[in-house]
Amino acid sequence: MTAIAMPAPDRDVIARRREILSALQAIVPGEGVIHDEREMRAYETDALTAYRQLPLIVVLPETVEQVSRVLRYCHDNDVKVVPRGAGTSLSGGALPLEDGVLLSMMKFNRVLDIDFANRAVVVQPGVTNLGITRAVEQEGFYYAPDPSSQIACSIGGNIAENSGGVHCLKYGLTTNNVLGLEMVLITGEVIRLGGKHLDSEGYDFLALMTGSEGLLGVVTEVTVRILQKPETARALLIGFPASEAGGRCVAEIIAAGIIPGGMEMMDRPAIHAAEDFVHAGYPLDVEALLIVELDGPEGEVDYLIGRVEEIARANEASHVRISQSEEERMTFWAGRKAAFPAVGRISPDYLCMDGTIPRRELPKVLARMRELGEKHGLRVANVFHAGDGNLHPLILYDANKPGELEAAEAFGADILRLCVEVGGVLTGEHGVGIEKRDLMPAMFSEDDLKQQQRVKCAFDEKHLLNPGKVFPLLHRCAELGKMHVHKGQLPFPDIPRF
């Protein structure tokens, strides 16, 4: 029914299931290996729930030694492995394979070291994003990247997806906040990268691992940077009669040298859905609603609130409210934070897209999106990380109506192609996974994708880790490694030489 196909399963591996099971049980004892169909159902999908697949076997190791032995066994026996954290991927990154072992890292759930002097925390990968903040907040610290699933998502998964969040324009993505990793390669080799110090020289494997969507290695330990919580935070709620004015206001805030802690925009359908749901007091007669949050020392925040208000009024804002209390600030956010479930109330199903565009293209993209909605016969509501141009169009559909999921997927693909066409990218924070895999050629040439896959070959020559994700076409490493050289030719007569 759905458009995205996974690689054909290896029947030989499926036939060896019993043998693989007993080998894994010898490595991970007791309940750490799950093979009962009913129990494996819990792992058949992630947060991209339109796709489901039972894995061959589920393994939940508890030690690095077990991870290493499981991976080495799978490597030696040509068994595919899908690593999984909390299973909150919105792009299908943890979708199991029929012929693959699902490796859950959720038993790695301990905080290993809290080091306030060095502002570093060492945790196992199954610790949740919010769990890190919980472990350090008694001293006023927090971990900055805050994906909306932070209560559930694991830091290992954050590494895999290079997760962002509302505050990343000011505080960076996961990649800017990770100091070190321990990871296991598919061969079972254990590698340590970085630590509590900064910028280890040598190739930046931390950068490669962060955002690699489980294709390069399995993370077994993470060192992150923590920050002292800002002294205070205040927010403005600003309504505009047209999205162009909202876009201009955002540009002028940044041009004034202000980088807000958070800057979120919603369009009319999203505003109405959110207001109907949580009654946050959003104005309903506006085309665009902007929440600007300023955080930092009190002396700075009070000053900047005034600056932002001036800019908003100069840009035809029809509504401006400034939070006067922590409670009011939370109310401003309540609607935005409930936008997804709010949309869930007005539509049986929705698809959440994740393209990024240059901000100047916002009015054009919103207009084109409305046209595309008419073409596909579907509605769309938009929430938007306005500071960094990351769009989250929510496409409303009903999976019980024949053809609507396919129409929604086609609409989503059109939106992402539009993002690329205006100079943006396919995904700002949700990852490629299976969801955007087949759109990769819209953004990258064949040579671009080949070079990325050669990185994969340096880590996992047999393509055993999470195959079928990210790359539309799997090339064998031997094929990718060939060089087509033109010996003896001097095809550069016009390069200046000395």
């Binding site: 080091d115 060095n118 390669l185 080799e189 630590g195 100047r360 990185v455 003896g488």
Partner: protein, 396 residues
């Protein structure tokens, strides 16, 4: 045939590399050559000189995004963004003075190849934290694009970031896209005098763990400062905010003494001097760059000084130690052993004769599995080993 190729566009870079790969002729890849004395010496018959590959492609201040040709001078890029009230917030250091060259040279490609940063590293990151996209030519002679031209993007592996700090051994960058940031309205320095090294780093770490948003944390001991020693904290931002945070630090660090405040012009001069390691620029002694957990900085220096006659000062809240060996010897065994004992990190031999840099490991030696992965990555990008061969590690 010895030659220097000086391409003017990406296509010419591709042609030169393709030819070199076909002939298996190693190339030394350089911009303006300002950091040629950094790393291991490269043995190559040919030079690929990118200093004519220049120009701003697009710059949109409101989008915080800048795309430039890799050979564009850093000075030109910094002036352009400054004229628009912005900056490269990773504050790339200038190796010129320390390595015996002129100041103010170097290309943006070189800044990324060496993953440069400055005192603001502890708040805003290094070059790698600000690169968004890259067009490059691999050692196979193939042009590839990676990343994008927007500030938030997770589409595909993060190659632009991974190619930073590779010293041109994987690919030749031809066009780079960077994130720029607003330039702070003003800056000030909070100065404490007369602290010993352990107390100084305690004070810096306490300030870094506060909400004062410190953007520079350095300590110049007595033998570097010439006076009683100075412990320095930089505050940047809007005037009202800097004043407010200065008072926050006064309260927070009251038990370390009464501070002196330096105004913006003195602050800029001072931090440029720390950034560019000017205290060691006049001499010709060997200089090490040691990256450790900040609180371990003083212990590391103490351990080194038990064995070696050395002078050292601290940046990054104690996490970056610049260390000069006063007797002119390299002392790599003693220094790396001290680093290990102090909890580990990274020791880079920054200033030494070429003969020394080709025999002593310039960068911190890697454990076997990591070294093997390094070689495999090199082979995937540059199977013939023609790009800056041996610049980082022999055989890579």
């Amino acid at each position: 045939m010895d030659a220097t190729f000086k391409p003017r566009d990406t296509r010419q870079v591709e042609d030169a590399v393709k030819w070199a790969a076909g002939e298996e002729r190693p190339l030394e890849v350089v911009g303006q050559g300002s950091k040629r004395k950094l790393g291991r010496p490269v043995q190559a018959a040919h030079v690929l000189d990118l200093s004519d590959l220049t120009g701003i492609e697009t710059y949109e201040p409101a989008e915080l995004v800048l795309t430039v040709k890799a050979g564009t001078p850093v000075a030109e890029v910094e002036k352009l963004v400054a004229d628009n009230g912005q900056e490269l917030s990773f504050e790339p250091m200038d190796y010129g003075p320390l390595l015996g060259g002129d100041p103010g040279r170097g290309t943006i490609g070189g800044v990324l190849a060496a993953n440069l940063s400055g005192p603001r590293r502890i708040k805003s990151g290094a070059a790698r934290d600000h690169v968004l996209g890259m067009e490059a030519v691999s050692g196979r002679g193939e042009i590839f694009n990676s990343g994008g031209k927007v500030v938030k993007n997770v589409t595909g592996y993060d190659l632009p970031r991974a190619l930073c700090g590779a010293f041109g051994t994987l690919a030749v960058a031809t066009t780079v896209t960077l994130k720029v940031n607003p330039k702070p309205e003003t800056a000030a320095t909070f100065v404490l005098g007369g602290l010993n090294e352990a107390d100084a780093i305690d004070a810096l770490c306490r300030a870094m763990g506060s909400s004062a948003e410190v953007s520079g944390a350095a300590h110049l001991p007595q033998d570097v400062d010439g006076e009683a020693g100075k412990t320095l904290l930089r505050l940047e931002g809007f005037e009202a905010s800097v004043d407010y945070r200065f008072r926050t630090l006064e309260k927070l660090l009251a038990d370390f003494g009464t501070p002196v405040r330096l105004a913006q012009p003195e602050t800029e001069t001072l931090w440029r001097s720390i950034r560019d390691v000017l205290p060691f620029a006049q001499a010709e002694t060997p200089v090490w760059r040691l990256s450790v957990a900040p609180a371990s900085g003083p212990r590391l220096v103490e351990l080194v000084k038990e064995k070696v006659d050395a002078t050292a000062f601290y940046d990054w809240s104690g996490g970056l130690v610049w260390l000069s060996c006063n007797d002119g010897a390299i002392h790599h065994t003693e220094i790396r052993a001290a680093l290990e004992e102090a909890g580990g990190g990274h020791a880079t031999l920054v200033r030494a004769d070429p003969s020394v840099r080709s025999t002593v490991p310039v960068f911190q030696p890697q454990a076997a599995p990591l070294a093997a992965l390094t070689r495999r990555l090199k082979e995937q990008f540059d199977p013939k080993g023609i790009l800056n061969a041996g610049r980082m590690v022999a055989g890579v």
